[in-house]
């Protein structure tokens, strides 16, 4: 330091009282933003994820609107115009019964997307409750509950799904049940791991000391704070549920005609694939693009919701 001694002379008038504003200088660091607003900002920076989100919104909108505004219905047959190619009248052509493929794909999308969303939601609810209780109670209860999960895990997914669907007859209900039962275990494990670490944190101890009930601590403090990773894995569950449902359709144990999902559409078209390959391409493209988009969204959410990234 090259300050001279006399420059350092301090006199009382060098000091002045802080005014009120400066007293609060130990200050509010930045704009009030909630965790999710913050995450949204980070999510938007990920272009792939944003593109995925736009695609899904577009897909959902098409599935809702196109069957309504189209002059065709998903089961309206026109044998005079079967297996037509692409044209202005039928943008994706028609199938072997002369049904408009575009409308059938969009109606199939309604089913495939709802199966994906509902199965993921069911897995979410079961996973949160099961994993939450296991992680929070801990000890022997946790051990027994987790061994059960391990056991369920060791059986291949498709085995349950096919068993349940075959036993209960293929229907929306049995397919949903099968897919949800095969996919909640991962969620439960993840919730448990989150709850285990969070329950030792001081804020949940503080809630306990304040007299909060177990369920209040579990849901208002532990689960809420695990929401980030949970949302990411739900997003990842949707494409796998869509795929499983499509796979069932492809195996021929999906929904029965004339209702169709993407999987059953692909299966129907398979038989005439050599002659009319485009009829397989459309549903497969829909499945692939949707799964890809959802995976991008999942990745983007993973980055955006991870507080350690900040």
């Amino acid at each position: 330091m090259d300050l001279k001694k006399d420059e350092l002379k301090l006199t009382p008038d060098l000091f002045e009282k802080l005014d009120e504003n400066e007293k609060n200088a130990e200050k509010i660091a930045y704009e009030s933003k909630t965790y999710f607003q913050d995450a949204w900002v980070r999510f938007k920076q990920n272009k792939l994820a944003l593109a995925g989100l736009c695609f899904i919104i577009f897909m959902v909108a098409c599935c809702i609107i196109i069957p309504i505004i189209s002059p065709y219905t998903y089961d309206g047959q026109d044998m005079t115009n079967s297996n037509a190619g692409m044209s202005m009248a039928h943008l994706m052509g028609t199938d072997k019964f002369g049904r408009d493929i575009l409308v059938r794909i969009m109606c199939g999308g309604r089913i495939s997307l709802s199966v994906g969303a509902i199965a993921a939601l069911i897995a979410l609810v079961i996973g949160i409750i099961y994993g939450g209780i296991s992680g929070y109670v801990g000890g022997k209860v946790d051990m027994v509950m987790m061994r059960f999960v391990d056991m369920m895990y060791s059986i291949p997914d498709m085995l349950y799904i096919i068993m349940i669907v075959v036993v209960l007859e293929p229907s929306m209900f049995s397919i949903l049940l099968g897919i949800s039962i095969s996919s909640w275990m991962g969620m439960a494990r993840q919730v448990r791991a989150q709850v285990m670490t969070l329950k030792e944190q001081e804020f949940s101890l503080a809630a306990f000391v304040l007299g909060a009930s177990k369920s209040r601590i579990l849901f208002k403090h532990l689960i809420i704070n695990s929401m980030g990773p949970i949302i990411v894995s739900v997003t990842m569950l949707v494409p796998s549920a869509i795929f499983n449902e499509a796979f069932l359709g492809f195996l021929g144990i999906g929904l029965s005609a004339p209702q169709a999902s993407w999987g059953t559409l692909a299966n129907d078209a398979r038989q005439i694939m050599m002659a009319y390959p485009m009829q397989v391409v459309w549903p497969v493209l829909a499945i692939c693009l949707t799964m890809l988009a959802l995976n991008f969204i999942g990745d983007g959410l993973g980055d955006a919701l991870d507080p350690k990234k900040k």
């Binding site: 965790y35 001081e202 804020f203 503080a206 306990f208 000391v209 304040l210 909060a212 403090h221 929401m227």
Partner: protein, 327 residues
């Protein structure tokens, strides 16, 4: 003297650690037989090295840790077996302020929600307006602006967060607060402010504190009495000034000798003691006096039996050196 608000009787808290298939579990004797009394309106400072069981003691008092043995009496009632309405009352009366202001507030709740939570749990106020009014009062009391109510914890500095934590405990009008190193995570410049706030609150509301710290000089400032812990045991308890100016137990002496003293005359008269050896593990504490492995005055007797906490002059000391001069 009035009845104590808190009384620990031979409190022991052991943890089972390790162990597994075909492996024996180890027992950590985190707290190994502590007895003390804290009176209404008093601040009792608890000091000792890291890992000596201070937090475990504090956590046992608020029922986070289960005692292995012994009693914890709050207003004469054993809280280890308390149930129902009495438990609810206990949760209102006895609160805790945590060490880490970054971890002790739920990051997904606004300041208002955080301070309101205890009111919701205990149904103290009926309407939302009443609660909100009280939250604003509390924010003002701890030196924050009432309009911070809708903000999130991450927007505040460490000192401000600790104030929010304090406001949360005050929402229930507690009679006793365990302060577990409430300032050790804060900037030195902020520490004094928070201490002053705690003192102001005590003066206004007549709360008793158990103030935990590892720095004797800070504890001395706020405490009426101080207890010194070593490896799960209380080795000396006394009036804070007297203990500070005239430590008796060899461990207290060593602790104090590491505190820099501003007054050169006092500094000279005090020998500097550097403790030998490592802090023994609470899994396998030394026989007899727990301090004997590092005590410069250790005698043969010290390894054979354990010194009791006995009255010596104006205080309590657990050391055979003072067996002769009981009063």
């Amino acid at each position: 003297m009035a009845n104590p608000i808190l009384e620990l009787e031979n409190l022991k808290v052991y943890f089972n650690v390790g162990g597994g298939f075909l492996k024996k579990k180890d027992v950590v004797k985190a707290v190994d037989g502590i007895s003390l009394k804290i009176y209404p309106g008093e601040t009792f400072g608890l000091v000792g090295e890291s890992g000596c069981g201070k937090s475990t003691t504090g956590r046992a008092i608020v029922k986070i840790n289960q005692p292995t043995e012994g009693k914890i009496l709050v207003n004469g009632e054993d809280i280890t077996i308390i149930k129902g309405a009495n438990l609810k009352k206990f949760k209102q009366d006895v609160q805790m302020i945590f060490q880490d202001p970054y971890a002790s507030l739920n990051p997904r709740m606004t300041v208002g929600e955080i301070i309101k939570e205890p009111m919701d749990i205990h149904g103290i106020y009926k309407t939302n307006e009443e609660k909100e009014k009280r939250v604003r009062e509390l924010l003002e009391l701890v030196g924050l602006k009432p309009d911070h109510i809708r903000r999130y914890p991450h927007e505040f500095s460490g000192g401000q967060r600790q104030r929010i934590g304090i406001a949360r405990t005050l929402a229930l009008n507690p009679k006793f607060i365990v302060c577990d190193e409430p300032i050790s995570a804060l900037d030195v410049s902020i520490q004094a402010q928070v201490i002053n706030l705690l003192e102001k609150i005590q003066a206004e509301m007549g709360i008793s504190y158990l103030f935990i710290a590892h720095d004797l000089s800070m504890v001395k400032h706020i405490s009426d009495r101080i207890g010194v812990m070593y490896l799960g045991n209380l080795v000396e308890v006394g009036d804070s000034d007297e203990l500070y100016n005239n430590p008796l137990h060899p461990y207290t002496k060593a602790l104090l000798s590491s505190v820099p003293i501003p007054d050169p005359r006092v500094a000279k008269s005090r020998e500097r003691i550097v403790l030998q050896g490592e802090l023994p593990s609470p899994i396998n504490p030394p026989s007899g006096c727990v301090f004997r492995t590092r005590c410069p005055k250790a005698m043969e007797k010290c390894s054979q039996c354990k010194p009791e906490l006995k009255k010596v002059k104006d205080r309590m000391v657990a050391c055979f050196l003072y067996d002769g001069d009981k009063e």
